[in-house]
């Protein structure tokens, strides 16, 4: 059922009309990030801002989605409200398999609905509903209602936004099936600008599988590797939260707005501690037997006489870093309470946490005042951080309105740029050293997963600029191939070249094997071309002073090495994203 061409549903919210499109390009772009970039080239506008109704919001899956375990993610691409450039974000849940079973390689949403709407697409269905009554509903409540209006439990995915998306905070996320998110760079904001509260994808078809034993046997083999070997034990066991303790020991755990890179308190919010005190159960993306999603619980007394309620809140390493360590909230249930509010408001949790960390330090230093923050934000004070989150989502004043557009944007007006922990966007939780800082600050998605800069820092102590840059470019390219498949990056140790080749072969797509590396390069270049075409200038990216003040296990950051990497990586990006020669590719 893997086609030579892509089958795309384009939904125009302005006209209410849907169009089914077929596009060639499987051999050039594979799917996922490649397909999304290809579609952005066709439907996006380099000369219009992110909130132009005609800008597309794209969801794309890969050729192997659903065919193998952990081929379970969706790539979401859009022009970002955060920096007004091309961006993408990944999420799982049931989104990928729902698109597969809706018989779509991609869903492209353009236009703007007149009133707040919900969209439902399936293999035999396209429908928009007026949901103006949901305005202001939080993301969880929205999910509950959408479940009722578009039935299909177990074979649908529900994507939705909270108030932050409606109010156009630049880092509103799209919540996917309660526990997953297109978190970064404002996908939820794009939905908000389109007046689109929710998307329900009905995965209501099935497809013939290749005959013969090969495919089934290979599936079984991969499934077994993933479930019985140690390879994925980390993700299944403590989950990514397992990283807290080792990063703390390595002096690479951002703490208290990166005033510190470790803390004796870190153990109180470690993966071990979360597991022991709050872990309720695991969950998984559809098609993934690993189940890395960790759901914790908080219980709260809401009335005297032992009246309690409880909530279930998903946690991971990143949210614990941003709403725990960065805010010096060192009690697991308190971290979960903050995360719960972020979840409901529909914000990216890393951005929200890091923004509040900056605001806390700014208030402490007198850069801003209580008049601006409204509540006395203070390290460790979960209650006020919960209020802070709500105010980012629903700003009561100019300060929060600006903070909701990005920490650095706010700092430029109020001061305190030096200690804004922004690497392209609010940073991820790795203070491992120079290579990571540059990788995230300049990288395509400003994500720690763009390339393994954090692990490079941990592996190599020497300061060989060329070697580090070579690594960043080639590692990113390899990850792009997996992002074209839209496999979970946690499985990158499993789906090595040889296995990937076998996997494609077994579903009759072995012909692509020869060209995977060149596809990776083609997509890498196309993505940069789009970024640069929208005004990205990597040389203008600055690294806030705070990053030169930190100390990691290697000692203090070396500003010269940092700068050489910055200039070098910017040059590589400019080169990769250079316009095509006239003859074309």
């Amino acid at each position: 059922m893997i086609r030579d061409f892509f089958r795309i549903l384009k939904m125009d919210l302005t006209t209410g009309k849907a169009t089914l499109l077929e596009r060639p390009g499987r051999n050039q772009y594979l799917g996922g990030t490649g397909l999304a970039a290809m579609l952005f080239e066709e439907f996006g506008h380099l000369d219009r801002d992110w909130d132009d109704p005609e800008q597309p919001l794209i969801f794309a899956i890969g050729p192997l989605t659903g065919y193998y375990p952990l081929m379970s993610k969706t790539c979401c691409a859009f022009r970002s409200p955060y920096h007004n450039q091309y961006a993408e974000s990944y999420a799982g849940g049931k989104s990928a398999l729902s698109l597969r079973f809706a018989d779509l390689d991609a869903l492209v949403v353009v236009g703007r609905a007149e009133r707040l709407s919900a969209l439902c697409v399936g293999s035999r269905r396209v429908e928009t509903r007026d949901v103006e009554y949901m305005r202001g509903f939080d993301a969880l409540r929205t999910g509950r209602i959408v479940r009722k209006i578009f039935p299909g439990s177990g074979r649908r995915s529900i994507l939705r936004i909270g108030p932050a998306g409606e109010n156009l905070s630049a880092y509103a996320c799209i919540n996917v099936d309660t526990f997953r998110h297109f978190g970064r760079l404002g996908g939820g904001t794009v939905m908000g600008a389109k007046n689109l509260k929710a998307i329900c994808i009905l995965g209501d078809r099935g497809f013939d599988l290749p005959g013969g034993k090969e495919y089934s046997a290979l599936y079984k083999d991969i499934h077994k590797q993933l479930t019985t070997t140690e390879m994925m034990a980390k993700y299944h066991g403590l989950g990514t939260a397992v990283n807290i303790n080792p990063l703390n020991e390595l002096k690479s755990l951002p703490w208290k707005n990166l005033q510190q890179t470790s803390s004796p308190e870190a153990d109180n919010i470690s993966g071990e501690r979360f597991a022991q005190d709050t872990l309720l159960r695991n969950a998984a993306c559809a098609g993934c037997p690993v189940g890395c999603i960790h759901v914790g619980f908080v219980r709260e007394q809401f009335q005297a006489n032992n009246q309690y309620l409880y909530r279930q809140v998903g946690y991971d390493y990143e949210p614990i870093f941003s709403c725990g360590g960065m805010l010096e909230v060192t009690d697991a249930p308190q971290v979960l309470r903050i995360l719960d509010v972020i979840e409901k408001e529909g914000l990216d949790n890393m951005s929200a946490g890091v923004a509040l960390a900056w605001a806390t330090e700014a208030l402490e230093k007198g850069v801003i005042t209580l008049e601006q923050t409204v509540v006395p934000l203070a390290w460790g004070d979960a209650e006020n951080y919960m209020r802070g989150v709500e105010m980012i989502s629903r700003p009561p004043n100019d300060f929060y309105r600006l903070l909701a557009q990005g920490t650095l944007k706010c700092a430029r007006v109020y001061g305190g740029e030096d200690f804004a922990c922004v690497l392209g966007q609010e940073m991820a939780g790795y203070a491992t050293g120079e290579v990571f800082f540059i990788s995230e600050a300049l990288g395509f998605r400003h994500a720690h997963l763009d390339s393994g800069g954090y692990s490079y820092d941990q592996k190599y102590e020497d300061k060989n600029v060329t070697q580090a840059l070579d690594f960043l470019v080639s590692d990113a390219r390899e990850r792009i191939v997996l992002n074209c498949m839209v496999g979970c990056l946690f499985a990158r140790g499993v789906y090595k070249d040889a296995l990937m080749a076998q996997a494609l072969e077994a579903v009759g797509y072995g012909a692509l094997n020869e060209s995977l590396a060149s596809i990776g390069e083609r997509v890498q270049r196309l993505r940069w071309r789009l970024r640069l075409g929208m005004g990205y200038d990597p040389l203008k990216v600055t690294i806030p002073k705070r990053y030169t003040e930190v100390t990691t296990w290697k000692g203090p950051i070396d500003p010269e090495y940092l700068d050489a990497l910055r200039i070098g990586y910017a040059a590589r990006i400019m080169e990769m994203g250079a316009p095509l020669p006239e003859t074309g590719e």
């Binding site: 059922m1 659903g66 065919y67 375990p69 398999l97 597969r100 079973f101 035999r124 999910g143 509950r144 479940r147 439990s153 177990g154 074979r155 099936d177 309660t178 526990f179 995965g203 209501d204 078809r205 099935g206 497809f207 013939d208 599988l209 005959g211 089934s216 599936y219 499934h223 479930t227 299944h236 159960r281 695991n282 969950a283 998984a284 993306c285 559809a286 098609g287 993934c288 037997p289 690993v290 189940g291 999603i293 759901v295 279930q312």
Partner: protein, 144 residues
């Protein structure tokens, strides 16, 4: 005679490995519906998951409702499916008290045949093949 039971669903992580395995191995399709076992959340993901699958009734209402004998009673419970006899009327799914039979858009019924091939794909050991109690009266009346 054994039947598939979803005995430990409180452990379920919602990975759909079981339904994908059934669809793949038993029905040769890529699907999470066209399968003898389907996973859905009880009411949103925070409520946990439930499995829709054949409870191995005896007598089986679906078999009784089937006008063509496409679904026939198994000796100790559940049904045997003969796909070539099916006229796709959908009566079986309507008759099933627990919504265990899935009808695709062409009204092909999918029902668990209790072969147990999904069991090894469940990473959390939620599923199990259990011996069904023998029905004394029907001794010797085996049709499996």
């Amino acid at each position: 005679m054994k039947a598939l039971r979803a005995v430990r669903m409180e452990r379920c992580i919602g990975c759909h490995s079981c339904s994908l395995a059934c669809a793949r191995q038993v029905h040769s399709v890529l699907s999470w519906n066209k399968s003898g076992i389907r996973i859905s959340s009880a009411g949103g993901l925070s409520t946990g998951f439930e499995a829709r699958l054949c409870l191995a009734c005896k007598p089986a209402p679906c078999a009784q409702a089937c006008p063509t004998g496409s679904l026939a009673q198994r000796r100790d419970g559940g049904v045997i499916q003969k796909k070539n006899l099916c006229i796709r009327c959908g009566e079986c799914a309507r008759a099933c008290p627990v919504d265990a039979i899935f009808l695709d858009h062409q009204v092909n019924p999918y029902v668990c045949i209790h072969c147990g091939r999904c069991v090894e794909f469940c990473p959390h050991d939620c599923l199990e093949m259990e011996e069904l109690p023998r029905t004394p009266k029907d001794k010797g009346g085996s049709d499996d």
